[in-house]
């Protein structure tokens, strides 16, 4: 019996892990793996394989070989930011399948794990869906929710989503290997929200008229420690220069000012600022003009009580 031919597109360790699993299934043949040019050598080495190709061969508008996947049953998009050309998807014998970080149709688009924190959601979702129509519009195969806690950051939600997706995609691959029919549950597109990359990358400026909770979530959603946020870094303008805020928590202070963005107190541990609600924001890690300060050295920022941050 002919093996089921599957190609993969995506990047990094999550992609490699799911391909390794697919390679253990007897009835599946991994045909091609498409990754960014700068990842080709890394993925080739990790998979000990020569089937790795440049993703530019199959992305929208940059297609070089439109018949690349004519003989392929499925294309699985996993941890992938590239838009695959429609012709490539149409040529697949069975179809394209995508892992999306977020609930569909409510959280279509990019970096939705950051938006979910900012929107004060208490749950997040990993979704596996068919690639059909516009981005993230295709019918759903399977999905699984998990809780968002008050300690979660942008990065921690992404990691949880990838862990959840790994289990879901393993089940999908098992079903494919056993020739089971995959679900095709249509999305209610009247509920669709699409989050663009532009919208999130331009949303880093703190509005001190917002509540302390909203500002804290904006900061926590951008926390990709030990890495930089892939989208925005929350910032405010001070008389000392642009201040990027990395860590903060909500606090109460009897001296909170009615003037939003006013510095209420500064100690070596934190800077407390008034917000648009009755609570303040206690800032414990910042960068001002490329110098980093954290709890224990906040007085070195030269910021003092009474200063006003631009709201």
């Amino acid at each position: 019996m002919d093996k089921i031919k599957i190609s993969f597109v995506g990047n990094g360790t999550p992609l490699i892990d799911i391909i390794r699993y697919a390679m253990t299934l007897e009835s599946i043949e991994v045909q091609y793996v498409f990754v960014s040019e700068n990842e080709i050598d890394f993925v080739k080495k990790k998979l000990d394989s020569t089937i790795v190709e440049n993703v530019a061969n199959i992305t929208a508008n940059r297609i070089t070989k439109s018949d690349f996947l004519n003989d392929c049953d499925y294309l699985i998009s996993y941890n992938n930011m590239h838009i695959i050309d429609d012709k490539i998807i149409e040529n697949l014998k069975c179809g394209g399948i995508n892992y999306h970080a977020g609930s569909l149709p409510e959280y279509a688009g990019s970096y939705t794990y950051q938006w979910a924190i900012r929107n004060n959601e208490d749950r997040f979702c990993s979704t596996i869906h068919w690639i059909k129509g516009k981005t993230d519009e295709g019918p759903i195969i399977t999905k699984k929710e998990f809780p968002i806690t008050a300690a979660d950051t942008g990065l921690s939600i992404l990691i949880k989503s990838l862990e959840t997706a790994y289990c879901l995609m393993k089940d999908v691959l098992k079903d494919i290997a056993n020739s089971k029919t995959l679900n095709m549950i249509p999305q209610d597109l009247t509920k669709r929200n699409f989050y663009s990359i532009k919208a999130i990358t331009e949303s880093g400026q703190i509005n001190w008229d917002d509540s302390a909770e909203a500002i804290e979530r904006l900061i926590r959603a951008s926390d990709f420690f030990p890495y930089k946020s892939p989208t925005y870094e929350p910032f405010t303008e001070t008389v000392h220069g642009l201040m990027k805020i990395h860590k903060a928590k909500i606090c109460s202070d009897r001296n909170l000012s009615n003037k939003t963005g006013r510095v209420v107190s500064v100690t070596n541990d934190c800077i407390v600022v008034s917000t648009g609600c009755r609570k303040g924001l206690s800032i414990t890690s910042v960068t001002i003009n490329k110098s980093k300060f954290k709890s224990g050295s906040m007085l070195e920022t030269k910021i003092r009580a009474g200063e006003l941050f631009k709201a």
Binding site: G12, T13, P14, R20, F42, K46, F225, P226, H246, S285
Partner: protein, 75 residues
């Protein structure tokens, strides 16, 4: 543990090995490695005191681990 995360045998690396550009790990793999190591040693590495270009160097990373363990022992 590094071999386990990178899924390839890793031995006798020089101290100036960049764990990412050398192709041993990628950024997500490095994160998995740090998480597992922290759990195993029951420590929290103060990586926020360094820039990524520093702590992805094997020698620097080992120094950070050793200093954190020393601080933990001295309690």
């Amino acid at each position: 543990m590094l071999s386990e995360v990178s899924q390839e045998p890793v031995t006798n690396l020089p101290e100036d090995t960049d764990l990412i550009s050398s192709g041993i790990l990628d950024s997500m793999g490095f994160l998995t490695f740090v998480t597992k190591l922290q759990q195993h040693l029951d420590i929290e590495l103060p990586l926020d005191e360094y820039v990524p270009e520093e702590f992805i160097l094997l020698g620097k990373f080992i120094t950070i681990c050793e200093e954190t363990l020393k601080t933990k022992k001295n309690g």
